[in-house]
Each structure stands twice: as C-alpha cells, then as structure tokens.
C-alpha cells in the first residue's frame, strides 16, 4: 500500500474512534516516513517548501499516533511518539506555537503522564522548556496546559480538595477527553498520599471522617473497612481508627555505633595529617 492510502485509512479509523484498527496502520506508515526521511525533521536553508509541507503531514500523523497510543493505554509508545514530536515542535518552520492547539494538547498529556508516573523531576524539566521557549501569552492562555500545571501545584501545596474538584467535574467539562484516562492512576496515588498524611498527623480518626478525607463516596461500609485494613494496614476499633505512633527504638542503639564510627574516622584522618 502506498503512503497516501495508508494515511487515508489511518485518518478514517481514527476519526471513527476505532483506535485498535488505526493502530494497525501505524508501523507501516512509520516505515514509509523513514524511507522518505520524514520521521526526523532535519531541515536547513535549502529545504524546499514541499518538504516542509510533507514534514507537517508527518507531524500530524505522529500526533494521531500519540493520541491512539494514549487511548489504548500504551504509555511507553506514547512516550516514543512524544520524543519524535518534540523535534518537530522545536522547529519554528514546521510548528507555529501561536496557532497550533495540538501542541498544547500533546504537551499537557505528556505532563499528566509524567505526573501519574510520579516523575516530578522530568515534569519540571519539561515545564522549564515550555515556559521559556513558548511565547508567554500562549502558555498563560493555553487551557490544556493549565490542567497539569494546576494539578501539580495543588499536589505540592497539599490542596487536595482542588484536585477532587478538578476530576469531580463532568467528563465533558474536562478540556480534553483523554485527561479522564489518567484519573484512575492519579486518584489512587492521591489516596495513598493522603492516607500517609493522615496517619502521620492524627492520633485517631472515625471512619466517617476517613471516608470524607479519602473521597471514598462510591464505596460501601464493608468495602471501606477492608480497604483500611488491607491497603493501609490500619486497625479499626468501634468505628475509630487508631494510628500507632511510630516506634523509634533502635535509633538509640545505632546512634552509639555511629558515634564510634565517626570518631574512628576522625582518628584516622588526624593520623594522616600528623
């Protein structure tokens, strides 16, 4: 099959949201792109206008590939597509940052993906790039980008209420339907985060309050009790959870050992000096 007909079928199945069918075309298309030197945008002053147009098309194909892999929950593949696309976005002749809404979508999905994986340092590296290379007004007004950045900010501040609100909103109110795909992972990690916070800061807490704090509205009483016992390892007494103060014994013992180790270290250093 030629590249044109493959791409046409890809568009068709993608628009019909038949993601698995669409994904089947991608490997063959990628091979064609490599053959025509379109997978990596190497441009210079001699690059013709036609070649730029071709590159723009291959950017579009890669974007579709990224969306498909996200929808199929193939995150490793999505990361791969993102890396390809980054090269296209860095080239001002191919991508117009001011007008291209796709860039914001792809970037916000990638940022969200990093958050869901707990890759905070990568998240911030990307953010540094976004904030400093894109026009300021684009970053400020991009509704897609605002979602992951707000999420991270609230997560860091501990303002979890805002995060529940972000996701409690109706699916259609999310800027991008794909954001919903990360909900499960994010909420799970959020719950375990909150659970650790609670166990550190309360001596005891009734189950009702725990239900409120962890946002376990969809769970029945029995489900919550097993969750408490199994997932967090807390013990339940008459509807109240008591958090055991963490035992700090053994610290004393190792302290002595450490002092001895340190002093011996100093002694050998002095030896070398004298």
């Amino acid at each position: 099959m030629s590249l044109e007909s493959l791409t046409a079928s890809l568009y068709k199945s993608y628009e019909a949201k038949k993601y698995e069918e669409a994904a089947a075309f991608l490997p063959a298309i990628k091979l064609h792109l490599i053959k025509h030197k379109l997978l990596v945008p190497l441009t210079n002053a001699d690059t013709t206008k036609n070649h730029y147009n071709d590159l723009r098309i291959s950017k579009k194909i890669l974007e579709i590939g990224a969306f498909i892999s996200i929808n199929l929950a193939e995150f490793a593949q999505f990361e791969q597509y993102f890396i390809y696309l980054k090269a296209f976005y860095g080239n001002a002749h191919i991508t117009n940052m001011n007008k291209d809404a796709q860039v914001g979508k792809i970037y916000s999905l990638y940022l969200l993906y990093l958050l869901s994986q707990g890759e905070f340092s990568k998240f911030h590296s990307e953010l540094e790039l976004v904030y400093n290379t894109w026009p300021a007004e684009v970053v400020a007004s991009d509704q897609f980008l605002r979602f992951p950045t707000n999420l991270e900010k609230n997560l860091m501040e501990g303002n979890y209420i805002k995060i529940w609100q972000l996701y409690a909103a109706d699916e259609r109110e999310l800027p991008l339907a794909e954001f919903k795909l990360f909900e499960r992972v994010l909420i799970d990690s959020l719950r375990s985060e909150i659970a650790t916070n609670i166990s550190k800061s309360y001596l005891s807490l009734p189950v009702v309050n725990i239900k409120e704090l962890l946002h376990l509205h969809d769970f029945s009483g029995a489900q919550i009790e097993t969750k408490i016992a199994e997932e967090y390892g807390w013990t339940l007494h008459n509807g109240v959870v008591h958090f055991a103060a963490e035992a700090e014994e053994g610290a004393e013992e190792s302290n002595h050992a450490r002092i001895i180790k340190n002093v011996l270290g100093y002694a050998s250093e002095i030896e070398t000096i004298v």
Partner: protein
C-alpha cells in the same frame, strides 16, 4: 600607542613560547592574566605589526593580515621563521578577540572555521589552555548570533577529540560550553543527560571552569527538585570562583540561585547575603523582597512581589523556581502559627493564611506535618495542637552538624595536599640557581592567584 601595544603583545608571545619550550603551562596562565587588560587596548595596526613580525611570508600571513583589515602590512619587513603552534594559536586568539570586540560577528564566524581547522592539526598539551579559550570564543560567537543549535555538533566532536587526547582543559571548557548552550535553550533534560554520561576533569581543570561547571550543575539539580545537591554545588561554585571585580556577574548569578535554592529548602538566607557586597546589593533587591515574603509567610505579599519582578526572574532564568516557592510561603505561615499557638482551630488557620476552605486547610496542615515542617497533631474536633518544642541540644542534630563540618575541613585539607606542587629533585644541585628560580616562581604564583575568570561572560 601602537608601539606599546605591540610590545605588550610580543611580551605575551614570549611567555607563550617559553611555556611551549619548557612544557610548563603556567607561563601561558601568566600571559592570560594580562590578556584582560590587553584586550581592551587591542588595535588593528598593533595586531598587523605583530602578524608581520611573527609569520614568514605565506598563506597564513596574508590571510591574517586580510582579516585584521590592514592590507598594507609591510610583508617583507623581517624574515621570520615558522612560529610555534602555541604562538600561532595565541595570535589567532587575539584576532578573535579583536573581531569580537569590534562587533564584526560575520567576519569572526568565518575566521572561527579557519581557527578550528588550525587547532585540529596539532596535538600538543602545551596548546590546551589556549585551545580552551579559543573554543570559548567560538561558542560565544554563535551565542551572540542567537544560533544555539548548529554549534552543538562541532562542540561535541571537539569534546570527543579532546577526551581522546587527554586534553583536560579543553575538555572541561567544552563541557561547560555545551551545558551553557543547553541551558540557554532551557533544555534541562538534555543537559542532565550530558552530565550523567560524562566525567568532568574536576581536579585537572582550572578553577574558573570548575566554578562554572558547578553553577550549571546546581541549576540542573534545582530544576529537577534535588535541592540539597543543588545547594552543595552552588556553594561550591561560589567558593571556587575568584573574588575579583571581573567576576561580579558570575557572583551575582550564583548568589541569586543560592538564595532561591535556600528558600526552596525551607531555609531563610542570612540578611548579610543581601547587603554584604555593594556590587551585588542592587541586583539582589527583588530576591530580598521574595525572601521577606517567604519569611513572613505572607501569600499576598509573595504574589505581588512575583508579579512585580516577573521580568527580572525571567531574565535570570529563576522564574519557575521562584514560582515553586508558593508552597513554602504557606508552610512557613503554618510553622509560624504552630510556634505561637499551642492549640488553634483549623478554621482560624484558614482565615489567617487566606486559604480557600477549611477542608483544604486540613489537607495542607496534614501534609505539613508529614513533611516535617511542624511537629503537631490534628484532632477530630478540627484543632491543630503543637507538640512541646524539644530542646535541640538534647537531640543528635548538633552532633550531625559538627560531624558535617569536620568532614568538610578534612576534605579541604585532603584537596590541598593533592593540589601541592613539588619541585623536581634535579633543581637542588645548584642552590643559587634554585633560589633565583624560586624567586621567579613566587612572582609567577603571585600573579596567578587572582585567577582568570575575566572574559566578560556574565
């Protein structure tokens, strides 16, 4: 004027030649020390005269004379022999500087190609220091032309060559240049990858380069949320950098970064940091206001201050880091409340800190307790009760701090021992000659003490 200028250049060339003949790079360092002053007074006629005197008739002479723009150089003036590669490189460096300072960027760009080809032809360790400097100006040319990407392959190839030749000075210079290039395009990921795969010749490179390298490392780690490592590197950078008038730019940049990192770690920088040095005081003013806001835990003041100085922070590339301080402002607010009240309702905290709601206050306080910002508990009725403040001296903290200091002192001592130079034993035979030599030596060392971070980088 031209005459003294020419003499100065010739003197430097003598030093350079001496270092080439004696295999001792310190003479080049001495020449570099005068370079800063010499650079400001470089003139085309002086350069042309030097070119005429140094090179024999040939392609190089004609080319250099053409670049300097004094076509009517007396081509037959003196019969010079082919100069040493070191001297040749040094003259090229001077021409580079002249072109850079006169703003002839296009000419400089063309000239750079010629210089790099020239450098590649020689593999001599006495060339290292000069080569490192030349590469610096090559990269600087691209930077001034706002062309960050196309210089990368050249730098990378040169880095490979330098590594294979054990050319440590050039290697260190190229690594810092690549890092600088990546950070200028804000590609932190790429810079981190480079650092992860390379070994920086820390013990062998000159201090100025090590200081720069540490500064870039600090920036990378700060972006990647590794504040304690970033803090280590930025303090190391500030200590390594020579403290002279020419390095004010570097000191400013490093101090700014240090202030932000300290704040992010939850420390408040000392007031002395902002006022100690008159040269730094004015440029640090925005950072002082941010510090005040964080110290008071005042969210409103913080927002105002960030909005007001946004442009400055953008220019210093610290904007994103400063934005992250918002959570620290809240945490300090909670800490201050926890210190002043033994028991307070979440509702009051919410009002005092201007947070959105009582529920979010509960989450935020719980997180603060977990992060170890405060030592307190929350009870079911919605009160935060602070635990008794323990005597710090009853804990192991002072011991740990003392241990850290002893370790640092030992490290300094060991580094000093490693850095010492011992005279070769053959010199001892002739005591008189030795004394004379040591006299010269001490002069040279004195000259070197100030370092050479003088190239207008910042």
């Amino acid at each position: 004027m031209t005459r003294t200028n020419t003499t100065e250049i010739t003197n430097s060339l003598v030093l350079v030649a001496k270092s080439a003949n004696s295999f001792d790079n310190r003479y080049v360092s001495k020449a570099f020390r005068d370079l800063g002053a010499l650079r400001r007074r470089l003139t085309a006629p002086a350069l042309a005269a030097v070119v005429a005197r140094t090179y024999p008739v040939g392609a190089t002479k004609t080319y250099l004379a053409a670049v300097v723009g004094e076509g009517d150089v007396d081509m037959e003036a003196e019969e010079a022999s082919e100069p040493l590669p070191e001297v040749d490189a040094y003259v090229h460096l001077l021409v580079q500087l002249y072109l850079l300072d006169t703003g002839a960027l296009a000419a400089l760009d063309a000239f750079n190609v010629h210089v790099v080809a020239q450098l590649r032809a020689h593999n001599r360790r006495t060339l290292d220091l000069i080569a490192a400097k030349i590469w610096f100006y090559v990269a600087r040319t691209y930077e001034l032309r706002r062309d960050f990407v196309s210089v990368r392959p050249a730098l990378q190839t040169a880095l490979r060559t330098a590594t294979l030749r054990h050319d440590d000075e050039t290697r260190a210079a190229l690594i810092t240049l690549l890092l600088r290039n990546y950070l200028l395009t804000h590609d932190v990921e790429q810079a981190a990858n480079l650092v992860g795969k390379l070994e920086f010749p820390e013990a062998l490179a000159s201090n100025a380069l090590v200081a720069r390298y540490f500064y870039y490392l600090a920036r990378i780690h700060a972006v990647q949320l590794d504040y304690s490592r970033a803090h280590e590197y930025v303090t190391a950078a500030m200590r390594k950098a020579p403290q002279s008038v020419q390095t004010v730019g570097f000191q400013q940049a490093a101090t700014k970064l240090n202030v932000v990192i300290e704040l992010l770690m939850g420390d408040i920088p000392e007031a002395r940091t902002f006022t100690a040095d008159a040269a730094l005081e004015r440029s640090l003013a925005p950072y002082l206001t941010v510090t005040r806001a964080v110290r008071l835990g005042d969210l409103q003041l913080f927002e105002e201050c960030v909005a007001q100085h946004a442009a400055t922070f953008q220019r210093d590339a610290t904007h994103n880091l400063v934005m992250r301080l918002r959570q620290n402002v809240i945490k300090t607010g909670i800490r201050i409340i926890s210190l002043s009240y033994s028991k307070i309702s979440l509702r009051d905290i919410c009002i005092k800190l201007q947070l959105d709601s009582e529920e979010s206050t509960e989450y935020i306080v719980a997180k603060a307790i977990r992060d170890g910002v405060i030592d307190a508990t929350i009870d079911v009725q919605g009160f935060m009760a602070s635990k008794e403040i323990v005597d710090v001296y009853a804990t192991t903290q002072p011991q740990a701090a003392f241990d850290a200091r002893i370790k640092f002192c030992n490290l300094v001592h060991n580094d000093m021992v490693k850095a010492m130079r011992y005279p070769t034993s053959t010199n001892r035979v002739d005591l008189k000659a030795h004394l004379e030599a040591s006299d010269k030596e001490s002069q040279l060392l004195k000259a070197l003490q100030d370092g050479d971070l003088d190239d207008g980088f910042f």
